[in-house]
Symmetry: D2
Subunit: 345 residues, 4 copies
């Protein structure tokens, strides 16, 4: 049925039809510019309700790298640094965007892509005076870059250690929908809002044309943020384009439905590959999975499916990344599983 | 017919239906990410053909401030500065975005918002050594921030002086469509490509949801640009969103038709106001006009029309900015003129 | 007696012998590094006493441009800007150092090189929202770049307007000694400390090998400053080099004696030139004077004296800058006056 | 004889008397400002002769962190990164100075503090496209932060790999004198000049009050450097202060004599500690040694000697850093050895 299907990422397709419809409708109106339109305002209120923070500041930005670099550079003074897992997106795949704003990233190797309270304490202890940068912000992503998620107790621990050392806790939610709808998740958006100083709700990877919703809960981080949005080129003249999409996301449960679908598709792939006796690089329960497969099988699969080559753990094996999305058809997953079973039996 | 209509700016409405249609279509496909999709490639080729530069590098960005700050910071070394008219957008309405990338803007007062070759020479002469910044890039906008346009001979002079002093000439085309379809224009997109080192073709203010097409013609400025796009948070994962819109703009003459409509609407307003005996702050022939009106008239108009208050040239007079766009209905202009005539007779 | 003497600037000679002696003595000791040595501590206390601020933070830096760029970038958030006179050193002769840290400088033309409270108010009014930078720091220099000084009432007005608009007042004291020992001065170092948020006491131009003492009085500006010193490359390993010189400056009245000598020398030149019927570009009462002289006279003087050509106010006239210093011998001034009188009579 | 002596660092004392004498002499003259004085010119020529590069550009700066941050930020475009050993000074003890100029540092663990050609190749291979920074400069220090030195063949390998991948090779010579006069050294200053694109000759840690001489050999890196010096606050008005010291350093072999003395003192300490049966963290042959000693011994030594606590390799042991300098008296070393032997026998 599918001659070729890509599991390369979750941003190949455009926007979900319901978002496009909302956009087309808002497009006919004369909206106020720069994010002060009724759709953006409504979207902000819907998110505030959902996270239980009537006072949160919410800004809509265009993409993940942009959101991370603007948030971090707005929150930190020149000598302050971010702490991140070595695998953290800001450290690995943002072309030095955070450093380009002047801030060092302090990294540590992290089990399953997750930073622990202990990691944070250790890094703080190594930075006691003005001859080294001052750690001030802890960056985590949920789900992580390798598909894992933070548990309630892990996030609580990080929250506690951040309070103890006067650090901001910032959560990159490029795939927050996927994390929150994972079968293993015990966190809620409310808890995340409560335990972080700021976080963002990813739209691009969950069915929007573009757009991320940055939530700033800590009052100390709110001041002047719109200036910085503008200065960094992130304040869209037609802010409605972002607002209308997030309004539609949260008018009902669309945001979570789309993420749940992506997870469901990934779980089917995961189960089939596991059943065939293969293992995975990380214990992912979200929409990115990393099976370790024989090189030849990878080659055969690549004739009909696209995916990222992630690692070469041994000479004969290749770890690949399979990503599903809100748009992944059941049939594409079915085809892959059939082909996979055929090739491995 | 219109109880209230806004002439506040040209980015109140969203996108032209033809662009939305193109987006919706591309949205169903699995596109390659980060601007390497077929729509972006096709759009680049259509633009290359139209400007007669098969070798130009073309990048799609999200907005004008973003395009200006990224282009200028990518082109300049740390000690190099931009020259701009005091009214230049980078100097007045971008929240210090260029300075935030580390570069000083050297300004001079400019007749009708336009920089002359002589202005450039004078500023270069004032910056002879390492105790002051080194002027290296000339920033102009066409149409300008006050609606005027550069003539062929003015641009040719700037081109010549930039060659003479080894300066880059960069043209901000946020409203390039409006400039090129002005009744007084004698420039072409080809000439602009030939005489500048880089320029951008504005989409946001001409009917796109968002998007500007940066054209880099000077080979010395091309290297590494995609790195910088990514580093500054401007590389959309779904680059197709920009590419599909520009593809549609230039598949036929849509880009110019939309701009011509905006100009036509502005000209009708201009003529009616002029016929009623009022004068204007600048000799605009594009989609922004700046009539100087009695304060009371401004107040009366503001009951049914929105517009920017631009200046108070005398105690009894207010200069306002009226902006038309691709979306301005003939009827809205008709209503305004009727109301205007009624109020002034 | 002098075949050739330079009035080009006040940093041609090295350090006053008493400072060199103090340095040589401290040089033999094993001092604590990075400015925590006993000489730096003692110098800080001597300055605190003199300005009547026991709580002031005091840091020693290497030069004026460095001090300005570090102070301003440490004090401001990314979207905040400095206000300065068009002739302000940060705007004219620091190679865009402040912009290179990301901050725009908002300038206005200023009578006699001095910013007024009214100038500040006008600039603040022009910057109301996030589409433009936020004015946050007022930069002044005393004495100014053209030799003039602020009066008590002028500084008091600036202080008041800064409080009113929540702006920091920062004073560049590269030539503070010269300002405070001017015959027309009615300010004290205490008043300056009281009315500014931070200022610096210039050493380089007043007889030190190098060194400026930055005084931070506003507690909100103190935090993390040593981190930023280090990060910008301004924290000398042998901080004693700066501390020992400032210790010597303020152990007695040496700092003021050296400045008073420079002023006295300038006044003699000023009087002689004025007596010969010439006028000056600015009403300087400090160690820089700007006589306007016939071109031929300037040429004749240049055979035996060096000075800067400052301006060409008319076709036949040249404004030159004559600078005296702590090191200017009485005889050099005498020779100049003799030659001047001979040439003009 | 010494009740207390500090082996904490090599920048406790000021300047060698011969340098102070040179400074005092030059201090009486009227020198040209900003590093264009005769002493700086002469010093540059003496260095050019010594390294056999008549065309090298040479700039005098104030300190090591400043030199590193200015060189690296002047050499790199925004998206380019430096490669360094994890122990590299720019990574560990410069408060994020390089990142503060916008550039990421890519690190790897390094045997004995030294980067290998293989390390460089591995890091380059991990950075293939615009989603990650572009490695462009290799930073090494000689001697390293842990006292080791590069051999001729190691530097040659690095040179080759840098050519192969079009990377700049930059050598931090804060302790270059100590490296070149080490008993195990087989490199010369000429070879270093030949194989690097730029390097600096450290003055601060070898007997100057302050000052480092940056040598730029690669013509592509020379342009505009004085602008950047000024912009970053590193261009001393009295550049003579640096020039006169380096002139004195290289008028004869003073630079090397001072370094040789420091090494000789360290070697005596090293030998005595080794003879007593202890081992070291690194195979240092320069003026910093890192013995691993029983905790109690460290405590006893600290009553009469100052030194840095470097590490706690085991529960019962402490690694300390002992640093000697041009100023370390033979007697201080003798006392230490006597005390050491007494405490350990």
């Amino acid at each position: 049925m599918f001659n070729f299907y890509s599991f390369k990422n979750d941003y190949g397709e455009g926007a979900h039809p319901k978002l496009l419809e909302a956009l087309a409708k808002a497009s006919c109106e004369q909206n106020i510019a720069y994010g002060n339109d009724v759709h953006s305002e409504h979207a902000r209120n819907l998110i505030r309700e959902r996270i239980g923070c009537p006072d949160a500041d919410i800004h809509f930005l265009e993409g993940g790298t942009q959101t991370n670099l603007i948030a971090i550079s707005a929150f930190l003074r020149p000598h302050e640094a971010a702490i991140a897992a070595e695998t953290g997106h800001i450290n690995t795949h943002e072309t030095g965007a955070v450093e380009a704003t002047g801030h060092k990233i302090l990294t540590c190797t992290a089990q399953d892509g997750k930073l622990t309270a202990h990691d944070v304490e250790r890094i703080v202890a190594l930075h006691p005076d003005e001859h080294v940068v001052k750690p001030k912000l802890v960056y985590i992503s949920d789900s992580t870059e390798i598909g894992t998620i933070y548990s309630k107790s892990e996030l609580s621990d990080l929250h506690r250690v951040c309070k103890q050392y006067d650090l901001y806790l910032y959560l990159d939610g490029a795939r927050l929908g996927s994390a929150l709808t994972s079968s293993e998740n015990d966190l809620t958006m409310q808890k995340i809002a409560e335990w972080t100083d700021a976080f963002y709700i990813g739209g691009t990877k969950n069915g929007a044309l573009l757009g991320e919703a940055l939530v700033i809960r800590n009052p100390a981080l709110k001041d002047g943020f719109r200036y910085i949005l503008k200065q960094k080129g992130a304040m869209l003249a037609k802010g409605m384009v972002l607002g209308a999409q997030f309004e539609r996301f949260f008018e009902d449960d669309l945001y979570f439905e789309l993420a749940a679908h992506a997870n469901k598709m990934a779980l089917r792939l995961y189960q089939a590959i596991k059943d065939a006796g293969f293992h995975f690089l990380s214990p992912s329960s979200t929409n990115q999975i990393f099976p370790v497969l024989p090189n030849q099988l990878v080659e055969q699969l690549s004739e009909h499916y696209a995916f990222e080559i992630w690692d070469r753990p041994t000479e004969g094996e290749t770890a690949i990344r399979l990503v599903t999305s809100w748009a992944t058809p059941e049939d594409a997953v079915g085809c892959f599983i059939d082909d996979f079973n055929r090739l491995t039996h």
